[in-house]
């Protein structure tokens, strides 16, 4: 039962890692911006933005997947445009899986970063601004270093969520082995064929290993960063 993984299974694992990595990396700057806006700016539509960000957390994943299909599918309003002008296609590609994972993980990422920003004493930023530092410089040299643990926590949480994303992904990009079949989709597929339980179990173990590793790394990194920041 502990045979090495087949090539196809390896592909599913590699694809999941790739999807999760890009989903996290690309959404991170936007996540920081949105978290900052929600934490610090008072603007019209703030509550609406907050609601939108959290929507994927509350909606059934299949609904999110369907909405993605309608919007970013080949014939979707945005999808058609992107395809025509930039040659970017999401539907039934791994990029689509990454988009779905990013959107599903976004609320968790924003929440973690926002909490970190709210914990920063605004007087530190004010002090910097009254010492001649412009907004961007204040953010880069005061806020950013102080919220680094929160950003890391948010990123790792998002990565873990992306690794496990299933419903929206399978609805949006289906379950094509080697192209859009992520680890959870592969487990699901294995369970659909008679006698596939052993294969499913192997993949489940891989899944657990990756999740545990992510957790340990995240703990270790945030402890390092927190130590460096507090100077203790």
């Amino acid at each position: 039962m502990f045979d090495p993984l087949t090539a196809e299974e390896w592909r599913a694992v590699a694809l999941s890692l790739r999807v999760s990595f890009w989903a996290t990396a690309v959404s991170l700057p936007l996540g920081i911006l949105v978290a900052y806006a929600l934490a610090r700016w008072r603007f019209w539509g703030r509550e609406v933005l907050n609601g939108l960000v959290h929507l994927p957390l509350i909606l059934p994943p299949v609904v999110t997947g369907y909405l993605l299909l309608v919007t970013f599918g080949r014939r979707g309003s945005v999808g058609a445009y992107l395809d025509q002008w930039f040659g970017i296609v999401f539907a039934f590609r791994w990029t689509g899986a990454a988009l779905a994972a990013a959107i599903m993980a976004f609320p968790l990422m924003v929440r973690a970063i926002r909490l970190a920003i709210e914990a920063v004493d605004p007087r530190l930023e004010q002090a910097a601004s009254t010492l001649g530092a412009g907004r961007v410089w204040v953010f880069a040299t005061v806020t950013l270093p102080l919220i680094l643990p929160g950003i890391l926590a948010g990123a790792i949480l998002a990565f873990a969520k992306a690794m496990g994303e299933f419903g929206a992904t399978i609805t949006f990009v289906s379950n094509i082995p080697g192209q859009t079949q992520t680890l959870p989709s592969a487990i699901y597929a294995a369970l659909q064929v008679p006698g596939g339980e052993t294969q499913a179990l192997r993949l489940v173990l891989v899944s657990i290993t990756v999740a545990m590793a992510a957790l340990l790394v995240s703990e270790w990194v945030s402890r390092k960063v927190a130590k460096r920041i507090s100077g203790a």
Binding site: D121, R123, L124, Q126, A127, A128, S129, T130, L131, G132, A133, G134, R135, W137, T141, V142, P145, L146, R228, I229, S230, G231, A232
Partner: protein, 330 residues
């Protein structure tokens, strides 16, 4: 360095009016001290000038140009906060260097090192440069926060009770250093303090705030000798001015309801009988606590006085200040 003028500044927080129609001009190179009890609006004034808060009405001009629409950074000021807000993730050295590291300034590293060293020397924190900002005593943090402002030459220094958590000796030393910086650089200061000596020795001008209103603005001497009201008179002078009913020593001028006696207004040796209750020897001065009928009076006397509790003396007012029913000078 520049002249800063405030025109009709008004600011409310919710329904709480923190500043009401404050106008004053801080001349180029002046050292203006803001006095007033807690909640009078001193910090609010500094925050408005720094650009951390927007006034509800009124105008702020630096070097003649309105800055009300500018960001704090654009105003080119340097503020020292009442609560020292050091960057916890940086060392003392990096905290001090912070204002010089801005990309627009583009200071060479050697210059930054020199300037930080110089300021650390002045503030007596050179031995703590490599500490984290979180590993300092309150007084050390306060000095770093002053230092962070002093590394630059802004158009105005805004300092909110910068010496409040230092011991007496250090406070006296830094008073002199700040005064020297003021004189050498010709820097403009707006400085908040509750400390009498700081106000009298450092200020070229004093502004007195009362519940968000600027009630008097002038030289320390003017404020001390010629206060517009009993309120202003009570803000300066140690021991505080004695306020008694106007007729305590006999007939009073028309309209006067209170007589104000500073220690130098109490002439000992003639006039009404009074009893010495307590002799308080403070080293550089000796205070006499007197009772005269139902009234209590505190005054100063010769440090080596032979007077003791229970002694009977006589006192009379000498060119006192008179105040009317609303506390204004008559």
């Amino acid at each position: 360095m520049a002249e800063v003028s405030l025109v009709g500044l008004t600011k409310s927080y919710g329904t709480n009016r923190a500043l009401a129609d404050v106008s004053m001009t801080i001349p180029d190179g002046a050292f203006v001290v803001l006095l007033g009890p807690t909640g009078a609006g001193k910090t609010t004034t500094l925050r408005l000038i720094a650009g951390l808060d927007r006034p509800d009405a009124g105008d702020i001009r630096i070097a003649g140009a309105p800055v009300t629409a500018d960001t704090p950074a654009q105003r080119d000021v340097a503020m020292v906060f009442q609560q020292y807000s050091l960057y916890p993730h940086l060392t003392v050295r990096e905290n001090l260097a912070f204002p010089l590291r801005s990309p627009v300034l583009n200071w060479p590293e050697a210059e930054i090192t020199r300037k930080v060293g110089e300021v650390a020397e002045v503030l007596r924190i050179a031995h703590k440069l490599d500490n984290k900002a979180t590993q300092l005593s309150g007084g050390e943090m306060q000095r770093v926060s002053i230092g962070r402002a002093l590394v630059r030459n802004p158009r105005i220094y805004l300092m909110d009770e910068p010496l409040s958590s230092l011991d007496a000796k250090l406070r006296a030393d830094l008073r002199i250093e700040l005064k020297r910086i003021h004189a050498e650089l010709g820097a403009t200061f707006l400085y908040v303090t509750h400390d009498q000596i700081e106000a009298m020795t450092m200020a070229t001008h004093v502004g007195v705030l009362d519940a968000g209103r600027l009630v008097q603005f002038g030289t320390p001497r003017e404020i001390y000798e010629n206060p517009v009201s009993a309120y202003v008179a009570s803000r300066l002078g140690q021991p505080r001015i004695n306020l008694l009913p106007a007729d305590a020593f006999g007939p009073a001028p028309a309209g006067a309801v209170q007589i104000g006696l500073r220690p130098e207004h109490v002439r000992i040796g003639e006039g009404q009988p009074a009893t010495v209750r307590r002799v308080e020897r403070l080293g550089d001065q000796t205070r006499l606590h007197l009772t005269m009928g139902p009234h209590e009076i505190v005054t100063l006397t010769d440090p080596h006085t032979a007077l003791a509790a229970g002694a009977q003396i006589s006192i009379r007012p000498d060119t006192p200040l008179w105040f009317d029913a609303s506390g204004n000078r008559t």
